[in-house]
Symmetry: C2
Subunit: 276 residues, 2 copies
């Protein structure tokens, strides 16, 4: 199994789970994104995001059949990608609008499939990642929190239509912050500065309507919970089936300890995770 | 003419223009929002945003026929409004979802009309405020800038559907920042931290599809231009007919001096400023 790895703890957790299941792994560390030294325990090569030929070659040489894309990749500019001939060919097909957030990931996924690899989602290997409907920890959201959560989900889905962010912070019906390229944790931190008096807000993470669930599902982790607590939020609402919690047991335990709720939401009727 | 005044330079400019045109003005300074001491030159009262009865009484006592809402009002939380009986009655009619950004302004506008006042837009008094299509200064945007501007306009309009922000910063097809409650200048400042290598980005301001043009049209001013320059942006794109430039001549001159373009954009066919 090949893992094309970006930042954060997810790639190493995937590698560990795959090895535990008796699979061999080969890791392509994306230069400038990977920050977890644990990955060096596994066979690995380092490649620039723009070095498509090198990435494909490495996968083939190691006889990978399945490939997972996992970890954070801050959206790059065209000049920072420095595409090789293979990547340039891919980019030319779609134009630079592919850079509009996860258009690029969809492109990479499609290209991997065209080359005969089977694309897997992280949630297919780590079953406990996926978020299901309902209260996930010991703390339950009250009516105001649920109202903020539902409003935030609708806002985040609208944002997703434009292929931009997937998250927002809502307090008493007010949208305090919207996520673009800065990432969830940074957006949560900022929302603390715009906090209103009274009952605290809710972090909402969704998936985009057009999101391929095998590619970079929105995820929260331990740091998200810590930032949410510091920003005065009362909890986190996640789209069920469309988001992941990395290190779930530990994250929920920490949220419980801090008095934050974690809840999985479904979309209202007429909308669904993969539909438009 | 009554002016219900928030922050920034717009209310005083309106008052000056109205007096110059031979009208009498009466100003209601919204407590905690007004920051321009020039307003004290005119007959004025101070009232909390939630003191609807006091605001309506002041308008009637001064025999106001026309009313303009002008200036920045950061969206308040329900607890900070501390509604009086009159405001509470208004709020009960629509529920707290009115707080979802400019729902509140629409509510106030509707209530003023019900009470017999004629609601005017700032652009009806200060004709030079409104943005028209085309290059407004000495600097012209190139193809990349226009492509970023058009992408940003589409993103900002999508945002507007959810009654949230009206602005974003786009660089090379990437959305660096989205505006929620923090205001345009603060969003522009932040975008500087997420700037990618290469050609700089564009600030885009739109109006919401459902925006009543008499209420709080999105506006930029001198500070916006200074922040855009500091954040490494190359220019500003504004929805023609749906945004305002406060102190227009000075703002354009400053943009020229800094080498920033200012351009008015129209929406693609099938969409329009007031339509859905």
């Amino acid at each position: 199994m090949g893992i094309i790895a970006g930042g954060g703890a997810l790639p190493a957790r995937l590698a560990a789970a795959a090895v535990m299941a008796g699979r061999e792994v080969c890791i392509v560390k994306l230069d400038g994104y990977v920050d977890d030294p644990v990955l060096d325990q596994y066979p690995n090569v380092t490649a620039r995001l723009g070095a498509a030929a090198k990435i494909l070659d490495a996968m083939r040489k190691e006889n990978c059949q399945d490939v997972v894309l996992a970890g954070k990749v801050a959206r790059p500019s065209l000049s920072s990608i420095r595409p090789d001939w293979r990547a340039a060919k891919m980019l030319m097909k779609v134009g630079t609008k592919a850079l509009g957030d996860d258009g690029l990931l969809r492109l990479v996924g499609k290209e991997l499939e065209r080359e005969g690899f089977r694309l897997l989602g992280a949630h297919e290997i780590l079953g406990d990642l996926a978020v299901e409907e309902g209260v996930l920890g010991a703390v339950s959201p009250d009516e105001q929190a649920m109202s903020d959560a539902r409003h935030g989900l609708s806002v985040a889905r609208t944002l997703g239509q434009a292929d931009v962010g997937q998250g927002c912070v809502v307090q008493q019906g007010l949208v305090l912050a919207l996520e673009a390229i800065e990432g969830t944790d940074e957006m949560v931190r900022r929302s603390g500065s715009y906090r209103r008096d009274g009952i605290g807000g809710v972090l909402v993470k969704s998936a985009k309507p057009q999101q391929d669930k095998r590619l970079d599902l929105p995820a929260i982790g331990m740091k998200t919970i810590e930032e949410a607590h510091k920003a005065g939020l009362r909890g986190v609402a996640l789209l069920a089936g469309g988001t992941m919690i990395i290190d779930r047991a530990a994250v929920i335990a920490r949220a419980d300890a801090l008095g934050l709720f974690v809840v999985g939401l479904t979309l209202p009727d007429g909308d669904n995770v993969n539909g438009g």
